[in-house]
């Protein structure tokens, strides 16, 4: 146990000094703000020919207010935040192979289980902080918009906020876990990122689309996909949307709430188990 803690400390020491980690956080923050607040605000403030069609200006403004913070923040998860988390997981665990530092780390003291556990804890902590940053930025932007438009600055209840935050962390943990497990199994960064992003942004959308329309036989398959379950989990914690506004892309209710949460948790556990199993038994060349 002290070994796990030591590894976590070492990993966090590295992470806060690692430019790539900050770049990913900055990208997530920027995209989250642009899609959650800037574009809706511009469509509201503009002449009505803005990018969001078919919704009233009032609804668009309402979607940027503090009581919609969970929807505004989680809305971006299926489109970009998940992919960024996957990249992050692959970077944290896969880079060690590219630099050859696996052998350096594994000859310090902690055994393999302790090293991987410590890395997983550090990964989870960073993800939790990252999601928190997105929520805090969302809180700031929505409050600013509400104040400038003389609208209500009331936030959702603490319970709803915690639910939204928890779901967000769970979803990001799943993607980071998938990236990390792929990083360990494939012993690198490039291949996991390539495969992962193709999967998240391509294959899964394709399967979801086909299963919902032409080939309903694929539904059981669709309902165990990580992205579908993440989207269902996100929608489970979102407040009712202002009238006339569609759900953000990728947010769905294909899978029942409880089942989505369990599926996401299962992915986290399976990723950990697969990574640990491979990490423990493979020779380190």
């Amino acid at each position: 146990m002290p070994d796990v803690l030591n590894v976590t400390r070492a990993e966090l020491f590295k992470l806060v000094r690692r430019p790539a980690a900050w770049t990913l956080l900055a990208a997530a923050a920027l995209l989250s703000q642009v899609f959650g607040y800037l574009i809706p605000y511009l469509s509201f403030a503009g002449d009505g020919s803005g990018p969001i069609e078919g919704a009233s200006k009032d609804a668009i403004l309402a979607s940027t207010l503090p009581d919609q913070i969970v929807a505004s923040t989680l809305g971006g998860f299926p489109v970009f935040a998940g992919a960024l988390a996957l990249v992050f997981g692959a970077l944290v665990l896969g880079s060690e192979y590219g630099w050859g530092t696996v052998k350096t780390v594994l000859t310090q003291r902690p055994g393999r289980t302790a090293v991987l556990a410590g890395q997983a804890v550090a990964l989870a902590m960073s993800v939790a902080v990252g999601v928190l940053v997105l929520f805090v930025l969302g809180a700031a932007s929505s409050t600013a918009i509400a104040l400038s438009q003389g609208e209500s600055t009331a936030f959702p209840s603490v319970l709803d906020l915690l639910g939204g935050y928890g779901a967000g962390v769970a979803i990001m943990l799943m993607w980071a876990g998938l990236g990390g497990a792929l990083g360990v199994v494939l012993r690198g960064v490039a291949l996991p990122i390539g495969l992962g992003v193709v999967w998240v942004l391509g294959v899964e959308n394709l399967i979801a689309g086909v299963a919902s329309s032409v080939l309903t036989a694929l539904r059981p398959l669709r309902d165990v996909m990580p992205g579908i379950n993440a989207g269902s989990l996100a929608s489970a914690v979102m407040p009712t949307r202002p009238p006339g506004l569609e759900s953000p892309p990728g947010i769905n209710s294909d899978v029942a709430d409880g089942r989505a949460l369990i599926t996401v948790a299962c992915y986290v556990v399976v990723c950990l188990a697969v990574a640990l199993w491979t990490y423990r038994r493979r020779d380190v060349a």
Binding site: D3, N6, A10, R17, W99, L106, R109, G111, A285
Partner: protein
């Protein structure tokens, strides 16, 4: 195994597919000695050291390090190592890399400055690892190995990439480690290097342990090179000298195995026989010569 044995390896084998990278290797390293692991490229040195550290699993054989199985946390905490070149985080400075390793090992950062000083890297400690030259990376690798104040230091070709002054310093450093009571295992393909700093040597070739002996035994195997003409008179004169253990003729020179104290007598005998002596010189035998002789011995036994 006795309390004095730090590393005990018995019939260790590692095969990759058909190839036996390490084939039935046995060796033992005693407390406080500097043990040289000598062999040409591809001999199996790195593979053996990796097994000592628990990085790879042996195909078969027994292996005890500091009285326990390799890879055990209690054992790893007492070993400082650098295997097959230094590997660190390119975006961190040399010092920060050592801080990371101290955190992994749970050993505290108090020795970092001192260690950087030891490997002569103090002035560049705050530069990024990615900007280091090959030799500086190598020094940082050795620094990381020393950080834990280890009982056992395992260094795979520690002088690789160092300039002549760096090599000399590194050898002196390793010798000091040995003299301060630590056990050191180092691998090398340079016989001269191993002779300078090691107490005992294991010679490995093509995965097999060829010989394990003290350095003095290997040094006793140095040769006297004689360049003189005419060749037939040289040969017949030398053949009559009882204290010459062996003679072999190579191109335009003759190589003798003869004790150092007889060097003068050999020269005198040659001069008295009317031979033109152009050169008499003692050489440390090269690794190839050791192999040449041992394989010759093995085939004559067969």
């Amino acid at each position: 195994m006795t309390a004095e044995t730090v590393v005990e390896v018995r019939e260790l084998t590692k095969t990759y597919g058909e190839v036996a990278a390490v084939d039935q290797v046995s060796l033992s390293v005693r407390r406080g000695e500097v043990y040289g692991f000598l062999g040409p490229n591809g001999a199996g040195k790195t593979t053996t050291l990796r097994m000592l550290l628990g990085l790879i699993r042996p195909t078969s054989g027994d292996l005890m390090v500091l009285g326990r199985q390799p890879g055990d946390a209690g054992v790893l905490a007492r070993i400082g190592s650098m295997i097959e070149g230094p590997a660190f985080y390119p975006f961190l400075s040399g010092r920060a890399n050592l801080q990371v390793m101290a955190r992994y090992a749970g050993s505290g950062s108090s020795k970092i400055d001192e260690t950087l000083e030891t490997v002569d890297l103090a002035s560049r400690g705050d530069d990024k690892f990615s900007t280091y030259s090959l030799g500086m990376k190598q020094r940082l690798g050795v620094a990381a190995a020393l950080l834990k104040d280890p009982d056992l230091v395992v260094l795979d070709e520690p002088t690789n990439g160092l300039d002549p002054a760096g090599m000399r310093d590194m050898r002196a450093l390793i010798r000091r480690l040995g003299d301060s009571g630590r056990t050191v295992i180092l691998s090398s393909h340079m016989l001269g290097e191993v002779q300078q700093i090691c107490d005992r040597v294991g010679v490995i070739n093509a995965g097999r342990m060829v010989v394990e002996s003290t350095v003095d035994e290997l040094r006793g195997d140095s040769e006297l090179v004689v360049r003189a003409t005419p060749a037939d008179v040289v040969r017949s004169t030398l053949d009559q000298l009882a204290y010459v253990q062996s003679i072999r003729s190579l191109d335009d020179e003759v190589r003798l195995r003869v004790d150092e104290r007889h060097t003068g007598e050999v020269t005198r005998a040659l001069v008295l026989a009317g031979v033109d002596v152009r050169e008499v010189r003692r050489i440390d035998r090269q690794l190839e010569d050791v192999f040449f002789e041992i394989t010759a011995k093995e085939s004559s036994h067969a």
